[in-house]
Protein backbone atom coordinates (compact mmCIF):
# COMPACT_ATOMS: atom_id res chain seq x y z
CA UNK A 1 0.00 0.00 0.00
CA UNK A 2 2.54 2.47 1.22
CA UNK A 3 4.82 1.90 -1.70
CA UNK A 4 2.26 2.65 -4.37
CA UNK A 5 0.87 5.70 -2.59
CA UNK A 6 3.40 8.22 -3.99
CA UNK A 7 2.66 7.01 -7.49
CA UNK A 8 -1.06 7.37 -6.96
CA UNK A 9 -0.54 10.81 -5.58
CA UNK A 10 1.61 11.80 -8.56
CA UNK A 11 -1.04 10.54 -10.91
CA UNK A 12 -3.82 12.41 -9.18
CA UNK A 13 -1.73 15.55 -9.05
CA UNK A 14 -1.25 15.12 -12.75
CA UNK A 15 -4.99 14.67 -13.27
CA UNK A 16 -5.58 17.81 -11.22
CA UNK A 17 -3.12 19.71 -13.36
CA UNK A 18 -4.85 18.53 -16.49
CA UNK A 19 -8.18 19.67 -15.16
CA UNK A 20 -6.90 23.08 -14.21
CA UNK A 21 -5.39 23.49 -17.60
CA UNK A 22 -8.73 22.82 -19.23
CA UNK A 23 -10.50 25.09 -16.81
CA UNK A 24 -12.10 22.57 -14.48
CA UNK A 25 -10.06 23.52 -11.47
CA UNK A 26 -12.90 22.93 -9.03
CA UNK A 27 -12.02 19.27 -8.63
CA UNK A 28 -8.53 20.36 -7.68
CA UNK A 29 -5.32 18.43 -7.20
CA UNK A 30 -5.34 15.46 -4.90
CA UNK A 31 -9.13 15.43 -4.89
CA UNK A 32 -9.00 11.65 -4.57
CA UNK A 33 -7.28 11.91 -1.24
CA UNK A 34 -10.03 14.00 0.30
CA UNK A 35 -12.91 12.16 1.95
CA UNK A 36 -15.35 14.36 0.06
CA UNK A 37 -14.42 15.78 -3.33
CA UNK A 38 -15.57 19.27 -4.30
CA UNK A 39 -18.40 19.58 -6.80
CA UNK A 40 -20.53 22.29 -8.33
CA UNK A 41 -24.32 22.28 -8.47
CA UNK A 42 -25.76 23.72 -11.69
CA UNK A 43 -29.39 23.70 -12.77
CA UNK A 44 -30.42 21.09 -10.23
CA UNK A 45 -27.61 18.68 -10.96
CA UNK A 46 -23.88 17.97 -10.88
CA UNK A 47 -22.59 17.68 -14.44
CA UNK A 48 -18.95 16.79 -13.84
CA UNK A 49 -18.30 13.24 -12.64
CA UNK A 50 -16.94 13.40 -9.09
CA UNK A 51 -13.15 13.57 -9.13
CA UNK A 52 -13.31 13.10 -12.89
CA UNK A 53 -13.99 9.39 -12.46
CA UNK A 54 -15.56 6.94 -14.84
CA UNK A 55 -18.10 4.79 -13.01
CA UNK A 56 -18.53 1.06 -13.42
CA UNK A 57 -22.16 -0.08 -13.70
CA UNK A 58 -21.40 -3.60 -12.46
CA UNK A 59 -19.86 -2.32 -9.27
CA UNK A 60 -22.72 0.18 -9.01
CA UNK A 61 -25.32 -2.59 -9.07
CA UNK A 62 -23.52 -4.37 -6.23
CA UNK A 63 -23.48 -1.17 -4.19
CA UNK A 64 -27.16 -0.45 -4.78
CA UNK A 65 -28.20 -3.90 -3.61
CA UNK A 66 -25.74 -4.05 -0.70
CA UNK A 67 -27.70 -3.36 2.47
CA UNK A 68 -24.68 -2.48 4.55
CA UNK A 69 -23.04 -0.23 2.04
CA UNK A 70 -25.44 1.36 -0.45
CA UNK A 71 -28.50 0.87 1.75
CA UNK A 72 -30.70 1.93 -1.19
CA UNK A 73 -33.11 -1.02 -0.94
CA UNK A 74 -33.93 -0.22 2.64
CA UNK A 75 -36.02 2.64 1.26
CA UNK A 76 -36.32 2.04 -2.49
CA UNK A 77 -37.52 -0.84 -4.58
CA UNK A 78 -36.20 -1.54 -8.05
CA UNK A 79 -35.79 -4.14 -10.79
CA UNK A 80 -33.92 -6.63 -8.60
CA UNK A 81 -35.98 -9.82 -8.67
CA UNK A 82 -33.44 -11.66 -6.53
CA UNK A 83 -33.70 -9.13 -3.71
CA UNK A 84 -36.38 -9.81 -1.17
CA UNK A 85 -37.62 -7.21 1.27
CA UNK A 86 -37.26 -3.99 -0.66
CA UNK A 87 -38.35 -0.78 1.05
CA UNK A 88 -41.39 1.32 0.23
CA UNK A 89 -40.29 4.64 1.68
CA UNK A 90 -39.18 6.05 -1.67
CA UNK A 91 -40.02 5.84 -5.39
CA UNK A 92 -38.94 2.75 -7.32
CA UNK A 93 -35.59 3.04 -9.06
CA UNK A 94 -36.98 1.14 -12.07
CA UNK A 95 -36.67 3.25 -15.21
CA UNK A 96 -34.98 6.06 -13.28
CA UNK A 97 -32.71 6.95 -16.23
CA UNK A 98 -35.80 7.64 -18.35
CA UNK A 99 -36.95 10.16 -15.76
CA UNK A 100 -33.75 11.84 -14.61
CA UNK A 101 -30.51 12.82 -16.31
CA UNK A 102 -27.18 11.54 -14.96
CA UNK A 103 -26.51 15.07 -13.64
CA UNK A 104 -29.69 15.09 -11.60
CA UNK A 105 -29.19 11.53 -10.40
CA UNK A 106 -25.66 12.44 -9.27
CA UNK A 107 -26.87 15.33 -7.14
CA UNK A 108 -29.70 13.20 -5.69
CA UNK A 109 -27.17 10.73 -4.39
CA UNK A 110 -24.47 13.21 -3.37
CA UNK A 111 -26.84 15.33 -1.30
CA UNK A 112 -30.55 14.96 -1.67
CA UNK A 113 -31.12 17.71 0.90
CA UNK A 114 -29.66 20.20 -1.59
CA UNK A 115 -32.85 19.65 -3.61
CA UNK A 116 -35.28 19.20 -0.76
CA UNK A 117 -34.05 20.14 2.72
CA UNK A 118 -36.64 17.82 4.25
CA UNK A 119 -35.55 14.83 2.15
CA UNK A 120 -35.51 11.48 3.89
CA UNK A 121 -32.68 10.32 1.68
CA UNK A 122 -29.26 10.35 3.38
CA UNK A 123 -26.62 12.65 1.90
CA UNK A 124 -24.20 10.09 0.50
CA UNK A 125 -21.30 12.41 -0.16
CA UNK A 126 -21.52 15.10 2.48
CA UNK A 127 -19.86 15.26 5.89
CA UNK A 128 -20.59 18.86 6.84
CA UNK A 129 -23.54 19.72 9.03
CA UNK A 130 -24.15 16.23 10.39
CA UNK A 131 -24.85 15.82 14.10
CA UNK A 132 -23.82 13.12 16.62
CA UNK A 133 -22.20 10.95 13.98
CA UNK A 134 -20.93 7.69 15.49
CA UNK A 135 -17.16 7.52 15.99
CA UNK A 136 -16.75 4.82 13.36
CA UNK A 137 -18.35 7.03 10.71
CA UNK A 138 -17.15 10.49 11.62
CA UNK A 139 -15.52 12.49 8.85
CA UNK A 140 -16.38 9.86 6.25
CA UNK A 141 -19.07 10.10 3.61
CA UNK A 142 -21.43 7.13 3.16
CA UNK A 143 -20.00 6.56 -0.34
CA UNK A 144 -16.69 7.71 -1.79
CA UNK A 145 -16.51 9.72 -5.00
CA UNK A 146 -15.64 6.57 -6.95
CA UNK A 147 -18.57 4.66 -5.44
CA UNK A 148 -20.97 7.50 -6.28
CA UNK A 149 -19.84 7.35 -9.91
CA UNK A 150 -20.34 3.57 -9.96
CA UNK A 151 -23.91 4.02 -8.69
CA UNK A 152 -24.59 6.81 -11.19
CA UNK A 153 -23.28 4.59 -14.00
CA UNK A 154 -25.53 1.75 -12.90
CA UNK A 155 -28.67 3.87 -12.49
CA UNK A 156 -27.98 5.17 -16.00
CA UNK A 157 -28.71 1.66 -17.29
CA UNK A 158 -32.19 1.54 -15.69
CA UNK A 159 -34.43 2.64 -18.55
CA UNK A 160 -38.10 1.93 -19.07
Amino acid sequence: MRRIAPLRRMLSAFAGLMMTSIGLGAAGALAQDLPVVPYRIESGGISAPLGGRQGDAGRGRKLVTDRRKGLCLLCHSGPFPEERFQGDLAPSLAGIASRLTAEKIRLRIVDSTAINPASLMPPYHRIEGLVEVGAAWRGKPILTAGEIEDVVAFLGTLRD
Binding site: L74, D88, T113, V131
Partner: protein, 280 residues
Protein backbone atom coordinates in the same frame (compact mmCIF):
# COMPACT_ATOMS: atom_id res chain seq x y z
CA UNK B 1 -27.68 -6.47 8.81
CA UNK B 2 -27.89 -2.84 8.02
CA UNK B 3 -25.81 -1.83 10.97
CA UNK B 4 -23.25 -4.46 11.75
CA UNK B 5 -20.65 -2.18 13.23
CA UNK B 6 -20.07 -2.42 16.90
CA UNK B 7 -18.94 0.73 18.50
CA UNK B 8 -20.62 0.37 21.80
CA UNK B 9 -19.00 1.39 25.00
CA UNK B 10 -20.78 -1.46 26.67
CA UNK B 11 -20.77 -5.04 25.70
CA UNK B 12 -24.35 -5.07 24.49
CA UNK B 13 -24.24 -4.42 20.82
CA UNK B 14 -26.32 -1.56 19.47
CA UNK B 15 -25.95 -3.31 16.19
CA UNK B 16 -29.50 -3.81 15.26
CA UNK B 17 -30.48 -3.42 11.76
CA UNK B 18 -33.73 -2.29 10.52
CA UNK B 19 -33.68 -5.28 8.30
CA UNK B 20 -34.54 -8.70 9.59
CA UNK B 21 -32.90 -11.91 8.57
CA UNK B 22 -34.95 -13.60 5.95
CA UNK B 23 -36.99 -15.82 8.17
CA UNK B 24 -40.26 -14.12 7.51
CA UNK B 25 -40.80 -15.72 4.18
CA UNK B 26 -44.45 -14.77 4.17
CA UNK B 27 -43.70 -11.41 2.62
CA UNK B 28 -41.81 -11.94 -0.56
CA UNK B 29 -41.86 -8.50 -1.98
CA UNK B 30 -42.73 -5.23 -0.47
CA UNK B 31 -43.04 -3.52 -3.80
CA UNK B 32 -45.75 -1.00 -3.53
CA UNK B 33 -47.85 -0.92 -6.63
CA UNK B 34 -49.96 2.04 -5.70
CA UNK B 35 -48.22 5.39 -5.96
CA UNK B 36 -47.11 6.43 -2.51
CA UNK B 37 -47.29 10.11 -1.77
CA UNK B 38 -43.69 11.05 -1.00
CA UNK B 39 -44.21 14.05 1.11
CA UNK B 40 -41.73 16.30 2.66
CA UNK B 41 -40.90 15.69 6.29
CA UNK B 42 -43.85 16.88 8.25
CA UNK B 43 -42.72 15.63 11.62
CA UNK B 44 -46.36 15.98 12.53
CA UNK B 45 -47.40 14.27 15.68
CA UNK B 46 -49.56 11.18 15.29
CA UNK B 47 -53.24 12.02 15.88
CA UNK B 48 -54.66 10.36 18.96
CA UNK B 49 -57.08 8.22 16.99
CA UNK B 50 -54.21 6.77 14.95
CA UNK B 51 -51.88 5.95 17.79
CA UNK B 52 -51.09 2.27 17.93
CA UNK B 53 -48.66 -0.08 19.57
CA UNK B 54 -45.98 -1.85 17.55
CA UNK B 55 -48.04 -4.94 18.39
CA UNK B 56 -50.61 -4.02 15.75
CA UNK B 57 -48.02 -4.19 12.96
CA UNK B 58 -46.64 -7.58 13.92
CA UNK B 59 -47.27 -10.85 12.14
CA UNK B 60 -50.10 -12.94 13.56
CA UNK B 61 -47.67 -15.55 14.93
CA UNK B 62 -45.67 -12.97 16.83
CA UNK B 63 -48.86 -11.46 18.20
CA UNK B 64 -50.01 -14.89 19.34
CA UNK B 65 -46.69 -15.40 21.09
CA UNK B 66 -47.22 -12.23 23.11
CA UNK B 67 -50.90 -12.85 23.81
CA UNK B 68 -50.33 -16.13 25.58
CA UNK B 69 -48.14 -16.05 28.68
CA UNK B 70 -47.35 -19.72 28.15
CA UNK B 71 -45.75 -18.98 24.78
CA UNK B 72 -44.24 -15.60 25.68
CA UNK B 73 -40.54 -16.28 26.33
CA UNK B 74 -40.29 -13.12 28.44
CA UNK B 75 -42.33 -14.87 31.12
CA UNK B 76 -39.20 -16.89 31.94
CA UNK B 77 -37.58 -13.62 32.96
CA UNK B 78 -40.64 -12.70 35.01
CA UNK B 79 -40.40 -16.03 36.87
CA UNK B 80 -36.76 -15.27 37.68
CA UNK B 81 -37.79 -11.84 38.88
CA UNK B 82 -40.27 -13.44 41.27
CA UNK B 83 -37.47 -15.45 42.87
CA UNK B 84 -35.23 -12.39 43.14
CA UNK B 85 -38.06 -10.46 44.81
CA UNK B 86 -37.78 -12.79 47.81
CA UNK B 87 -33.97 -13.05 47.94
CA UNK B 88 -31.74 -11.47 50.57
CA UNK B 89 -28.53 -10.70 48.70
CA UNK B 90 -26.94 -8.13 51.04
CA UNK B 91 -25.37 -8.12 54.49
CA UNK B 92 -28.46 -6.57 56.02
CA UNK B 93 -30.64 -9.51 55.02
CA UNK B 94 -33.26 -7.30 53.37
CA UNK B 95 -35.39 -8.60 50.54
CA UNK B 96 -37.62 -6.58 48.23
CA UNK B 97 -40.62 -8.33 49.73
CA UNK B 98 -39.57 -7.38 53.25
CA UNK B 99 -39.99 -3.69 52.51
CA UNK B 100 -42.51 -3.69 49.65
CA UNK B 101 -44.71 -6.67 50.44
CA UNK B 102 -46.18 -8.71 47.60
CA UNK B 103 -45.09 -7.51 44.19
CA UNK B 104 -48.65 -6.76 43.05
CA UNK B 105 -48.22 -3.64 45.17
CA UNK B 106 -46.05 -2.35 42.31
CA UNK B 107 -49.13 -2.01 40.08
CA UNK B 108 -49.00 1.29 38.20
CA UNK B 109 -45.37 2.05 39.06
CA UNK B 110 -43.83 1.20 35.68
CA UNK B 111 -46.63 3.10 33.93
CA UNK B 112 -45.17 6.39 35.12
CA UNK B 113 -41.42 5.92 34.92
CA UNK B 114 -39.03 7.66 34.39
CA UNK B 115 -39.95 10.04 37.17
CA UNK B 116 -38.34 12.54 39.50
CA UNK B 117 -35.83 11.17 41.99
CA UNK B 118 -36.25 13.64 44.82
CA UNK B 119 -32.91 12.71 46.38
CA UNK B 120 -30.87 13.72 43.33
CA UNK B 121 -33.37 16.18 41.88
CA UNK B 122 -33.08 14.41 38.53
CA UNK B 123 -35.26 12.06 36.51
CA UNK B 124 -34.61 8.38 37.14
CA UNK B 125 -35.77 5.39 35.13
CA UNK B 126 -37.18 2.18 36.54
CA UNK B 127 -33.92 0.26 36.32
CA UNK B 128 -32.18 3.14 38.07
CA UNK B 129 -34.74 2.94 40.87
CA UNK B 130 -34.37 -0.82 41.22
CA UNK B 131 -30.62 -0.35 41.34
CA UNK B 132 -31.00 2.27 44.07
CA UNK B 133 -32.94 -0.11 46.28
CA UNK B 134 -30.48 -2.87 45.60
CA UNK B 135 -27.35 -0.92 46.47
CA UNK B 136 -28.61 1.56 49.09
CA UNK B 137 -31.36 -0.42 50.78
CA UNK B 138 -30.22 -4.01 50.35
CA UNK B 139 -26.51 -3.22 50.54
CA UNK B 140 -25.92 -5.59 47.65
CA UNK B 141 -23.77 -5.19 44.54
CA UNK B 142 -25.40 -3.34 41.65
CA UNK B 143 -26.78 -5.42 38.81
CA UNK B 144 -25.08 -4.41 35.54
CA UNK B 145 -27.28 -2.69 32.96
CA UNK B 146 -28.92 -5.25 30.66
CA UNK B 147 -27.98 -8.08 33.02
CA UNK B 148 -30.44 -10.93 33.17
CA UNK B 149 -31.29 -10.22 36.81
CA UNK B 150 -32.03 -6.54 36.26
CA UNK B 151 -34.16 -7.27 33.20
CA UNK B 152 -35.95 -10.02 35.12
CA UNK B 153 -36.80 -7.61 37.94
CA UNK B 154 -37.85 -4.83 35.54
CA UNK B 155 -40.05 -7.31 33.64
CA UNK B 156 -41.70 -8.45 36.86
CA UNK B 157 -42.38 -4.88 38.00
CA UNK B 158 -43.50 -3.88 34.48
CA UNK B 159 -45.94 -6.78 34.35
CA UNK B 160 -47.73 -5.39 37.41
CA UNK B 161 -48.80 -2.42 35.25
CA UNK B 162 -49.94 -4.50 32.29
CA UNK B 163 -53.29 -3.25 31.03
CA UNK B 164 -52.93 0.09 32.80
CA UNK B 165 -52.69 3.42 30.97
CA UNK B 166 -49.34 5.16 30.63
CA UNK B 167 -49.25 8.19 32.91
CA UNK B 168 -46.19 10.34 32.30
CA UNK B 169 -44.63 11.83 35.41
CA UNK B 170 -46.22 15.26 35.98
CA UNK B 171 -43.41 17.01 37.88
CA UNK B 172 -41.64 19.93 36.20
CA UNK B 173 -38.22 18.29 36.19
CA UNK B 174 -39.50 15.22 34.35
CA UNK B 175 -41.43 17.49 32.00
CA UNK B 176 -38.28 19.45 31.22
CA UNK B 177 -36.53 16.14 30.48
CA UNK B 178 -39.38 15.16 28.16
CA UNK B 179 -39.01 18.48 26.35
CA UNK B 180 -35.30 17.82 25.79
CA UNK B 181 -36.20 14.32 24.65
CA UNK B 182 -38.67 15.76 22.17
CA UNK B 183 -36.02 18.05 20.70
CA UNK B 184 -33.72 15.06 20.31
CA UNK B 185 -36.53 13.03 18.74
CA UNK B 186 -36.92 15.68 16.06
CA UNK B 187 -33.21 16.26 15.49
CA UNK B 188 -31.56 14.65 12.48
CA UNK B 189 -28.59 12.63 13.69
CA UNK B 190 -25.89 10.30 12.47
CA UNK B 191 -24.19 9.72 9.17
CA UNK B 192 -27.58 8.85 7.66
CA UNK B 193 -28.95 12.20 8.85
CA UNK B 194 -32.33 10.93 10.03
CA UNK B 195 -34.45 11.91 13.00
CA UNK B 196 -36.56 9.55 15.05
CA UNK B 197 -39.61 11.54 13.90
CA UNK B 198 -38.87 11.02 10.22
CA UNK B 199 -39.33 7.31 10.69
CA UNK B 200 -41.73 7.03 13.61
CA UNK B 201 -44.05 10.01 13.01
CA UNK B 202 -43.87 10.36 9.24
CA UNK B 203 -43.34 6.85 7.92
CA UNK B 204 -44.76 4.36 10.39
CA UNK B 205 -46.48 1.44 8.74
CA UNK B 206 -44.08 1.53 5.79
CA UNK B 207 -41.27 -0.88 5.02
CA UNK B 208 -37.66 -0.17 5.79
CA UNK B 209 -36.16 -3.19 4.04
CA UNK B 210 -37.95 -6.08 5.69
CA UNK B 211 -38.94 -4.23 8.86
CA UNK B 212 -42.25 -2.45 9.24
CA UNK B 213 -41.62 0.88 10.92
CA UNK B 214 -43.68 1.05 14.12
CA UNK B 215 -44.80 4.29 15.74
CA UNK B 216 -42.07 3.72 18.31
CA UNK B 217 -44.03 3.53 21.55
CA UNK B 218 -42.48 2.37 24.82
CA UNK B 219 -45.54 0.36 25.88
CA UNK B 220 -43.98 -3.10 25.99
CA UNK B 221 -40.62 -2.79 27.73
CA UNK B 222 -38.65 -4.77 28.68
CA UNK B 223 -39.47 -6.81 25.56
CA UNK B 224 -38.54 -10.23 24.29
CA UNK B 225 -37.11 -9.46 20.85
CA UNK B 226 -36.91 -12.35 18.41
CA UNK B 227 -33.81 -10.86 16.89
CA UNK B 228 -32.06 -10.58 20.25
CA UNK B 229 -33.30 -13.99 21.28
CA UNK B 230 -33.65 -12.50 24.69
CA UNK B 231 -35.17 -9.77 26.78
CA UNK B 232 -33.86 -6.23 26.44
CA UNK B 233 -34.65 -2.77 27.74
CA UNK B 234 -36.09 0.28 26.02
CA UNK B 235 -32.64 1.85 26.17
CA UNK B 236 -31.20 -1.07 24.24
CA UNK B 237 -33.90 -0.55 21.61
CA UNK B 238 -33.12 3.16 21.41
CA UNK B 239 -29.41 2.45 21.07
CA UNK B 240 -30.24 0.09 18.21
CA UNK B 241 -32.11 2.86 16.40
CA UNK B 242 -29.30 5.34 17.03
CA UNK B 243 -26.70 2.91 15.76
CA UNK B 244 -29.01 2.23 12.82
CA UNK B 245 -28.64 5.78 11.59
CA UNK B 246 -24.93 5.60 12.44
CA UNK B 247 -25.23 8.06 15.29
CA UNK B 248 -23.33 7.94 18.54
CA UNK B 249 -25.33 5.49 20.65
CA UNK B 250 -25.43 7.12 24.09
CA UNK B 251 -24.23 4.76 26.85
CA UNK B 252 -26.81 2.98 28.98
CA UNK B 253 -28.15 5.25 31.67
CA UNK B 254 -27.10 8.44 29.83
CA UNK B 255 -29.27 11.49 30.52
CA UNK B 256 -30.10 11.73 26.81
CA UNK B 257 -31.60 8.23 26.84
CA UNK B 258 -33.67 8.99 29.95
CA UNK B 259 -34.87 12.22 28.28
CA UNK B 260 -35.91 10.21 25.22
CA UNK B 261 -37.71 7.72 27.48
CA UNK B 262 -39.52 10.59 29.20
CA UNK B 263 -40.65 11.99 25.87
CA UNK B 264 -41.75 8.60 24.57
CA UNK B 265 -43.90 8.14 27.70
CA UNK B 266 -45.45 11.58 27.17
CA UNK B 267 -46.06 10.77 23.51
CA UNK B 268 -47.71 7.48 24.51
CA UNK B 269 -49.78 8.93 27.38
CA UNK B 270 -52.99 6.96 27.82
CA UNK B 271 -51.79 3.98 25.79
CA UNK B 272 -51.89 0.60 27.49
CA UNK B 273 -48.84 -1.02 29.09
CA UNK B 274 -48.11 -4.41 27.47
CA UNK B 275 -45.02 -5.48 29.38
CA UNK B 276 -43.50 -7.92 28.72
CA UNK B 277 -44.15 -7.57 24.98
CA UNK B 278 -42.72 -9.61 22.11
CA UNK B 279 -41.24 -7.82 19.11
CA UNK B 280 -39.58 -8.96 15.89
Amino acid sequence: MMFPERHSRNNIEPSSDFYLPAFFIAVLFAINLSPVPFMAVRAAEIPLAQRQSGFELMQAETQAMQRNDLSNPAMLWVREGEKLWDEKPGENGQSCVACHGVVTGMAGVAASYPTLDTASGRPIDLTGRIQQCRTDRQRASAWPRESRALLAMASLIGLQSRGMPIMPAPDPISKAGAARGKALFNQRVGQLNLSCAQCHDDNWGRKLGSATIPQGHPTGYPIYRLEWQGVGSLQRRLRNCLAGVRAEAFPFGADALIDLELFLMERAAGMTVETPAVRP
